[in-house]
């Protein structure tokens, strides 16, 4: 229950950097068909790693293991070299949908991230207001989740995940249930927002284009293991390398 002490907490408030995340030969699930089998993965501090895979490839499970919500049946999950034994505010998570508390307003949901760690009310309000504005929800602070569109709800989730300045953000198909146009908008917002944070990002999706747009690297997951890892060439739009990579990933899926 207690958050694992962030590895060697610095005495001076050094500029925060992203967490280095790793899966060390992780298996998850039992029997002859585990969801993940012997998966090794490394995510560098501050990088955006996108995990693509078809449904059932174990990509959500992988993300939950990184979050500390699921304990691996074998192997270790590491954050900055220390074994992860449970969830922590250092690794915030954005879920696909319906993860907002329906009885809390937009502001209440964003403040929740700070309330659970005992931040003072005034600081909470100021930080929440700032993030609500950054995700474009100024004016909707007092609305309830059910009064928001799917895209707006995901904006709230994004603000809630980032308001606590986590060192890693784990995103589980956050735009998976949005229509194409809203999804494109949200992707642009995410790129903008992530540029300002030092956090390491692991982003799970089944959409190859989304993966290439957002990722510094793309990991292809399938059959319970990592099939391939690719660096994404920048700028990726329109380049022949990127087109070739896209075709290759689609084949690997």
């Amino acid at each position: 229950m207690t958050a694992p002490a962030a590895s060697a907490a610095p005495a001076t408030p050094a500029p925060r950097r992203g967490t280095a995340l790793a899966l060390d030969r992780v298996s998850l699930g039992y029997g002859r068909d585990p969801v993940l089998r012997d998966v090794a993965l490394e995510v560098a501090p501050g990088e955006v790693l996108v995990v693509v895979g078809s449904s059932g490839s174990g990509k959500s499970t992988l993300l939950r293991a990184l979050a500390g919500l699921l304990a691996p049946s074998a192997g270790r999950v590491l954050a900055d070299g220390a074994e992860v034994r449970g969830p922590s505010a250092e690794r915030a998570m954005v879920f696909q949908d319906d993860a907002l508390l329906p009885w809390r307003t937009v502001r209440g949901n964003v403040e929740l991230a700070l309330a659970v760690r005992g931040t003072r009310r005034r600081e909470r309000a100021a930080a929440a207001a700032g993030w609500i504005e950054r995700v474009g929800l100024a004016g909707s602070e007092r609305r309830l989740p059910r009064e928001l569109s799917g895209g707006m709800r995901q904006r709230v989730q994004l603000a809630r995940a980032l308001v606590g300045a986590p060192r890693a953000v784990l995103m589980d198909e956050p735009f998976g249930s949005l229509d194409a146009q809203t999804r494109a908008e949200m992707q642009r917002l995410l790129v903008r927002v992530l540029a300002d944070t030092p956090a390491t990002v692991v982003f799970v999706t089944h959409d190859v284009d989304e993966a290439l747009l957002l990722g510094d690297r793309v990991t292809v997951l399938g059959g319970g293991g990592v099939r391939a890892v690719h660096d994404v060439p920048r700028p990726h739009e329109g380049s022949d390398d990127a087109r070739a990579l896209r075709a290759r990933i689609l084949e690997e899926l």
Partner: protein, 302 residues
């Protein structure tokens, strides 16, 4: 003889909360009418209000007619007091201190028993739903006691508690506890795990999850249990008062019967009905206030 006449008397409080349920929902009527466009507000329609009032008056008129004529048509209306006699008796009683003393005594009993049941019922429900070990320890004895109607525990209550008063409150508590506990347990178990995951990945521990997810999330289900609990609490407090006690609406009603004061019996019955209606209305109202976040159709339909 006692049993035969006792049965309808005891059945009255049972009917009261049930009959009050549609009435209690009335305040939500106009709201529902506005939200569901396309369907004319059934409840706000003046014509249907007039019909309802007429129906009520007709029933009272029929009662007056049957009693005034001393009708004996299978049922014996010759001994039943007429509405006029009841109203006279009610007006007389409203002016006496005793009526209000009885009323206050019953209200204190039910509120004490119900409050205890609410706190312990919700607490136990959450505990057994969240902790397997607590469930192993607590559920077997509770499941053994649960099927016993609280009113059947009256002899035990008399044996256990030195004062009648405590026994009556205990019976009321026992009646309300189980519906509250059971509905809390189910509501907690049915919570989406995603909410808990969300709070945990924000750094929340067990206590944060309890306060921020479990209790508010289970609230709609808990309110259902509180509503049912309030209904059965009334049945039991009245019945217990009829068996023992020296004050209270139930005691007064039964006493009126034993001294052949039939208008007094009906005044007692009506009082019990009104009290039941007011208390379950209060539970409903508080519940609606606390669960504004629910989608409207569900929120107003509970």
């Amino acid at each position: 003889m006692t049993g035969a006449t006792g049965t309808p008397a005891i059945a009255i409080p049972q009917e009261a909360p049930q009959a009050s349920a549609p009435d209690a929902a009335v305040p939500a009527g106009p709201v529902v009418g506005h939200v569901r466009t396309g369907r004319r507000g059934r409840r706000g329609d003046p014509a249907s209000w007039a019909i309802r009032a007429a129906s009520l008056l007709a029933a009272a008129g029929l009662w007056q007619l049957l009693t005034a004529a001393d009708a004996r048509i299978g049922l014996r209306f010759d001994r039943l007091p007429s509405p006029a006699e009841v109203v006279t008796e009610l007006a007389r009683q409203l002016g006496t201190g005793l009526y209000w003393l009885d009323l206050a005594q019953s209200v204190i009993r039910i509120l004490t028993g119900f409050a205890l049941a609410a706190v312990l019922g919700v607490g136990t429900g959450v505990l057994v739903a969240r902790s397997r070990r607590a469930g192993d320890v607590l559920l077997p004895p509770l499941e053994v006691v649960r099927p016993i109607p609280a009113i059947a525990m009256v002899p035990i209550a008399i044996l256990l508690f030195p004062a009648d008063e405590q026994g009556i409150v205990f019976i009321t508590f026992a009646a309300a506890f189980f519906p509250i506990m059971v509905s809390t347990r189910h509501a907690v178990r049915a919570l989406p795990t995603l909410w808990e995951d969300a709070v945990r990945t924000l750094g929340g521990g067990r206590r944060r999850v309890l306060w921020n997810v479990v209790l508010p999330g289970a609230l709609p289900g808990v309110l259902g249990g509180l509503s049912v609990g309030m209904g059965v609490a009334w049945i039991c407090v009245i019945s217990a008062e009829m068996i023992s006690g020296e004050l209270g609406v139930g005691y007064r009603t039964w006493r009126a019967y034993t001294v052949v004061d039939y208008p007094g019996v009906i005044v007692g019955m009506a009082t019990i009905g009104v009290l039941g209606w007011v208390t379950s209305g209060a539970v409903e109202l508080v519940g609606r206030r606390l669960t504004r976040w629910l989608p409207r159709a569900e929120g107003s339909g509970s």
